[in-house]
């Protein structure tokens, strides 16, 4: 401030460039403070906590070095542990959820792209689940899955098919939770695919028709390659969102525990329980650091794939 003042008196006006620089800093002041204090500082704080035996109830938080990470490793090497189940399930959610969701969304987008009549209505219907609260709709699905009084078992009975336990058996619980997540997120992927399809120049299709290419060939050699940016984008986005799964599991399982027999628990749910129910915040922080590394890995793969494509 002092310096600005002197300058002002010497040359009367700040040069325009200088004035713009000052204003840029003024405009950015609050965002810079925000990112530094609310985003960057807590990131380092999380790393630091992961090196402590951090219990918020205690007066002191002793430094323990890499003990928490060693514990993560130990838990993962056990034959059975909740942490191990959390990582295994999270990978299953990604490995099953992402391809199924993208496949269905692509199929729907291709069909929607072909029709005109009622296409707006269909788009709204596919999109509705995406904007509804996950917690609310997960509770609805939890009820749909109930033995005896849930809709799915009522339908099975009407069709004279055997009753299914769904969420109450370890073999069926994860797919049942996954079905909700796919159902809810599909509309988003459909919209992205539709936007991608719209960007494909029509001349390509006309050329293909002139050549007498079959529908499958057109799809395989024109649509799919040109849709690549949308596919890569969705792959990364959905992978990260499945890696971070939390709300559906806490809403759909008995007392939010990720059961039965840890068959649905996720890394984030396990982190939440360790941090806010058992107060092992140091250990929980080390789990989030591992999650961070996984997400970073996915992002780096994305960046290298996209940059290779540009080159």
């Amino acid at each position: 401030m002092q310096r600005k003042h002197t300058r002002k008196s010497s040359s009367f006006h700040m040069t325009l460039a200088r004035k713009k620089i000052v204003w840029a800093y003024i405009f950015l002041a609050i965002p810079i403070v925000f990112f530094a204090y609310i985003r960057i500082y807590p990131t380092f704080f999380a790393f630091q906590m992961s090196l402590h035996d951090y219990n918020p109830l205690a007066a002191e938080q002793p430094f323990v070095g890499f003990e928490n990470y060693e514990k993560v490793y130990e838990e993962l090497s056990k034959r059975k542990s909740t942490t191990k189940a959390a990582f295994r399930n999270t990978i299953s959610y990604v490995a099953l959820g992402v391809p199924i969701q993208l496949f269905l969304a692509l199929a729907i987008a291709l069909m929607l792209n072909e029709i005109r009549f009622m296409s707006t209505l269909y788009r709204i219907l596919f999109f509705l689940p995406f904007v509804t609260s996950t917690i609310a709709i997960a509770w609805v699905f939890r009820m749909l899955y109930q033995p005896r009084f849930g809709l799915f078992n009522i339908i099975l009975q009407l069709l004279s098919l055997p009753q299914q336990p769904f969420l109450t058996r370890p073999q069926q619980a994860l797919p049942s939770v996954l079905a909700l997540v796919i159902w809810q997120g599909m509309g988003f992927a459909v919209i992205i695919f539709l936007a991608g399809l719209k960007q494909i120049p029509r001349t390509y299709y006309e050329a293909a028709e002139v050549d007498g290419a079959s529908r499958w060939h057109t799809f395989r050699f024109i649509t799919l390659p040109l849709l690549n940016p949308s596919i890569v984008y969705l792959l990364v986005l959905q992978t990260i969102s499945f890696l971070r799964m939390f709300a559906p599991v806490i809403a759909m399982t008995e007392q939010g525990r990720g059961g039965p027999l840890d068959s649905t628990v996720t890394v984030v749910l396990q982190t939440y329980r360790e941090a806010f129910q058992s107060f092992n915040m140091g250990y929980a922080s080390s789990l989030t650091v591992v999650l961070f590394a996984m997400i970073l890995g996915v992002t780096i793969i994305q960046l290298s794939v996209t940059s290779r494509r540009i080159n």
Partner: protein
């Protein structure tokens, strides 16, 4: 000039310190926290009113807004800021974790000497003694008893006034009262349950402290540091419990909205639960025609039950200030008298923790409270180092049997190893 200012400033500081001290002489304010449970909140408000009338120098701020699920999180949120309760009510099974964190301080020898506690309170209160000190003291205690649905008994041709008296009776009557939809006798076809084992609610306690003993075993070593339930007796008891779902197929916690709801909704014949469930029934299904009996005797003819309690401790925060500590001790003393216990049973339905109040003839004669009260004489409280984790271990063992088809003895061995690890980790950190 500068010197003068310094003297002035010093004077102001001294004066204001004096003023603060003076204010504290006049009125001490302490905070008391418990989780939100309607009847307990009302009862505590009455006790606080009486206490403040007797101790005009002390004001008790009662925080009871926090729901059960968030109670510990809220305590954790208050601790780093140095605010929060001076006296706090915790489930007895949480005490070790709070002691371990240094959140609680031992109860002062005066007035809470071991001698006084042992002769005044129910024996299960000794569970809050740990590393030579008492860390908490309750107003009231609870025990388990057997609930049965008289209408279902009658419809099944059983005497509605004779509840099962032995474990064999439970099996027999459960089989007689189970109804299936269609010919398939599988869990998903059950429309009315005889008995549904539900480890997630109270049955893990029933197994731990009651069934094992009735089969002649012991759940833990005497010092509570070694798991001993993975014995032949423990396995027999666990198999007996699991058989309701896997062999007799009389019910499951997975159907009819859970075993507890099924009983409350009148769709289950026999259920083991605590006295607190009486209130749930009164609220959700007041027309339910049910009875309460002492838990059935086991193969060895012995009676046992599980006892538990919400208990009051003094926090590190109170300990930091002598005036508040003194007030907190006075308050704690006041809410644990036999009079407080009597007020509690009348308003909350929990049993007084004090021996004199619990042996009250009126309580023993009450058809609902009587069986719970009778159980206090033979009740056991488990020494939990981490109640929720230890409960989970048994839930998982049970699920391994009914969902994974594991052998009960093998499942119990696995559970014992896991629970032993929890206990060992706790003590390893302490030493």
């Amino acid at each position: 000039m500068r010197k003068l200012l310094a003297i002035l400033a010093l004077g102001v500081i001294v004066l204001s310190l004096g003023a603060v001290a003076g204010a504290q002489d006049d009125m001490v304010e302490i905070e008391y926290w418990q989780y939100n449970f309607g009847a307990r909140v009302d009862a505590m408000n009455m006790l606080i009113e009486q206490f403040e009338a007797e101790n005009p120098g002390i004001k008790v701020v009662h925080n009871s807004d926090i729901p059960y699920a968030d109670f510990r999180t809220e305590l954790a949120a208050s601790a780093p800021a140095g605010v929060g309760p001076d006296v706090v009510t915790l489930f007895y099974g949480w005490i070790p974790a709070f002691v371990d964190a240094g959140y609680l301080v031992p109860l002062p020898e005066d007035p809470f000497s071991e001698e006084f506690i042992l002769e005044t309170f129910s024996p299960m209160v000794a569970n809050s003694k740990f590393e030579g000190s008492y860390w908490a003291i309750p107003t009231a205690v609870r025990s388990l008893a057997l609930f049965w649905n008289k209408d279902i008994f009658e419809a099944a041709g059983l005497d509605p006034e004779s509840p099962p008296a032995t474990l064999d009776d439970v099996v027999e009557m459960a089989l007689a009262t189970t109804v299936y939809d269609g010919d398939m006798q599988d869990v998903l076809s059950i429309t009315q349950q005889g008995h549904a084992p539900a480890l997630a609610s109270q049955d893990h306690h029933w197994f731990r402290e009651v069934l094992i003993r009735q089969y002649g075993g012991a759940p833990y070593s005497d010092d509570g540091r070694t798991v001993t339930y993975n014995s032949e007796e423990g396995c027999a008891a666990f198999s007996w419990l699991a058989a309701f779902e896997t062999e007799h197929v009389t019910g499951s916690n997975d159907i009819l909205d859970g075993a507890t709801n099924a009983f409350v909704n009148g769709e289950s014949a026999i259920h083991v639960d605590g006295s607190f469930r009486v209130g749930t029934i009164a609220r959700n299904n007041p027309d339910l025609n049910y009875g309460v009996a002492e838990l059935p005797v086991g193969p060895n003819g012995e009676q046992h039950t599980f006892g538990s309690y919400w208990t009051h401790g003094i926090t590190r925060r109170a300990n930091d200030d002598p005036a508040r500590l003194e007030a907190a001790v006075k308050f704690l003393q006041f809410i644990t008298t036999p009079e407080a216990g009597t007020l509690w049973v009348n308003n909350v339905g929990e049993l007084p923790a004090q021996l004199s109040a619990a042996s009250d003839e009126m309580i023993l004669a009450d058809p609902i409270l009587g069986p719970f009260s009778a159980g206090l004489a033979y009740s056991h409280a488990t020494f939990f180092v981490d109640e929720s984790a230890q409960r989970q271990v048994l839930i998982d063992a049970f699920d391994n049997i009914r969902l994974g088809g594991m052998d009960p003895c093998e499942a119990l061995d696995e559970a014992a190893a896991l629970e032993q690890e929890l206990i060992d980790n706790f003590w390893a950190d302490r030493e």
